[in-house]
Symmetry: C2
Subunit: 413 residues, 2 copies
């Protein structure tokens, strides 16, 4: 976990924030699956809400419906299913609206205050029956310990629950923020995300909530790549109940900075765990770039390194084929001086330097193999631009394994 | 093979063009390998020459040296090694210059008229000794049947010789054009190429040769993606001896169009075979996009589809997970109307329609599996823009297999 000063990790995930309950059950949306596939999140009062969406031109029906419902930046409930993406279906919008209607009816909230999301295979027919039968049952089973269940019900090829919550203080009031997310393949969020639901009891204006979400997204999910493919159904939304009792945040003051850090604490940790849980992955790859010509260059280069198939395959084999790191840096679309580059790789097993001033240095293959054999591998790149301390970035990815191919050659069946 | 009207396939590869000989031998550049690793191409007279290079910010030393030598657009010989990319080496430029010097000395040509290229692992020390010992031997062993040998000596993880030659007529004179190329991984040529050497006996001005190469490259290698990684050492160059006796092409006239088509015939076929020979590939994937909003949109969309890891894994499994095609189209960075899209997949085993007007249509899974089980699979996308007959594109890629991971997890060892 990445620790952030002043934020205390707490239990409860999205239910750690005052006012929120959640739940999940098996609705049989994908008949062949025995896992829970329908989740609901509810708040006792309407929340200020903000979201970011996939930049894919082909958008799932739930994205279209949620965008409409969040025009007023108010939400009180979330309904989400796995097992079917409800994308490229002739009656997709109809079904997404029905999911919201049934949720609203059973929770006694406004239909326009329901956020809807779906994840699974694209272009598969989706029956309304599971929703008609199970949303009423789900609505009466929500609880304050429902966060993990809701997270599990969203999972497709995910193997790990991705859930974080932190406690912090604003105006002397204890505040909470928590989040859950799913996503393991088709992941290269472009200024958007996967399925990410975040709750907080902080009181904050629509403008400041939107601003904080954009900023936190830029430093978290936008820095993750698993396979270069951007889903049609990506969505990250944050709901703020305002029940913490702090004075409303309406400007970029000190309290805004604290909230932004809290949001980053949740989103960066979720994003990092998403990379670790990439389809078929055996290792988390972290790439840190320092002293770049610009912050944008640092971001592009760190992302390009964790995105390279060849870097990923080399890390899988714990093979110190570091020339591929230079190759991936050069493809980032950012200018830098190759003759100033140094590259090191670090893990719990030690640290090895491969390249200084852009040329090879001697190293022990045995030690390099050992460093690369750890579960978490950090590639440290210094571009040695003068006066560039702030031009840095971290990006997260995972190794490319036989199991990635296996999972994606067999996913539908 | 893609056939082009009016061009007759002939034997001989790069030696089919008048004036050219080639050869290869084993210089032991990578000690553990038993294959030939040093190739040479020679023309009896200085040629008009043009080249395109990798857009990677990190460039191999041979790229830097060749760019310098081709400033005057004249070349008479090529020296190329596999087994070491001569990139990120402290003495890289020195060694690339030495390779040219030794070639020039032994062929009695000008040192500045030698093109040099290297391919293999990046950042590995490279000794001058193999070149000092073997370039003199190679220079006296060139022959008119040396094209295949030269091609084989460039190969790294390639499994197929990629060599084409065509005969055509200009001003009543028989002309020839031939090419060889290597490349199987680290392949996503960005307006540049891999290692591609093309010879012709056509007489053509520097300006027209450069123009034709840029244009042919845009329609051939720029449409290939194997793994999204762009090499540091990509290079395509064409040498024109002028020995065919045609009137020199100095303007974009009818003869220029014929020559451009001949160059496209060689380069498109080499590019397509490169995709088929992608690391670990079992299938060639061809994506044809028709009636797009623009030619650029067609090119972006076709390239995005063959580049998607998820599309590639599905084709490997012959699994008709066509939603991934829509997903990849939406990520191409091109605007289009998702509700006008139709998608079909065709092979020697038949044709199946998956999607019309952007929504799923019924199809037989058994038939789809059968169509996708062929060695060559064509994904046909129609965007149904009105008056857009010319807004079309073809791109080439290959499936993503266990062997891609295996090859790249073991490449260095």
């Amino acid at each position: 976990m990445i620790e952030f000063d002043g934020f205390k990790p707490v239990y409860g995930g999205i239910c750690a924030s005052r006012g929120f309950t959640a739940g999940a059950l098996r609705a049989g949306i994908k008949e062949s699956s025995q896992k829970d596939d329908l989740a609901m999140i509810y708040c006792v009062k309407p929340c200020t809400a903000a979201a970011v969406y996939t930049k894919n031109v082909v958008k799932g029906a739930p994205i279209t419906v949620t965008q409409k419902h969040l025009q007023d930046n108010t939400a009180q409930a979330v309904i989400v299913n796995s097992g079917n993406a409800n994308t490229c279906n002739a009656n997709g919008i109809e079904i997404a609206e029905l999911m919201c209607e049934l949720t609203a009816e059973n929770l006694k909230v406004n239909k326009e205050d329901v956020i809807v999301a779906s994840t699974g295979v694209i272009g598969q027919k989706l029956s309304p029956q599971p929703f008609q039968k199970y949303i009423p049952l789900l609505a009466v089973s929500l609880s304050e310990v429902g966060s993990i269940g809701a997270c599990k019900a969203m999972m497709t090829t995910d193997t790990r629950v991705k859930e974080f919550a932190f406690e912090f203080t604003l105006d002397g009031k204890t505040c909470n923020i928590g989040g859950i997310s799913k996503g393991s393949g088709m992941i290269n969020p472009k200024m958007a995300t996967l399925l990410v639901f975040i709750t907080t009891d902080v009181k904050i204006s629509v403008e400041m909530l939107n601003k904080a979400l954009q900023e936190a997204n830029r430093n978290s999910y936008s820095r993750v790549n698993i396979d270069g493919d951007t889903s049609t159904n990506d969505m990250a939304c944050v709901m703020a109940s305002g029940l913490a009792g702090n004075e409303e945040i309406t400007a970029e003051n000190e309290n805004y900075e604290i909230f932004l850090n809290a949001l980053c604490a949740v989103m960066c940790n979720l994003a990092r765990e998403t990379a670790r849980d990439g389809e078929g992955a055996t290792k988390l790859i972290e790439c840190m770039v320092a002293n770049a010509p610009s912050e944008e260059a640092a971001a592009l280069i760190s992302k390009s390194v964790v995105s390279s198939s060849l870097v990923k395959a080399a890390v899988f084999a714990a093979d110190a084929n570091w020339g591929r790191i230079l190759m991936a840096m050069g493809n980032a679309g950012a200018a830098f001086d190759p003759l100033k580059v140094s590259v090191k790789i670090m893990s719990e097993n030690g640290i090895v330097t491969f390249c200084e001033d852009g040329v090879a240095v001697d190293y022990s293959e045995e030690k390099a193999h050992n460093v690369l054999s750890a579960d978490e591998v950090t590639i440290m790149i210094d571009l040695h631009e003068p006066d560039a301390e702030n031009n840095q970035s971290i990006a997260w990815g995972c190794d490319l394994t036989y199991d990635y191919v296996k999972i994606n050659a067999e996913y539908r069946t």
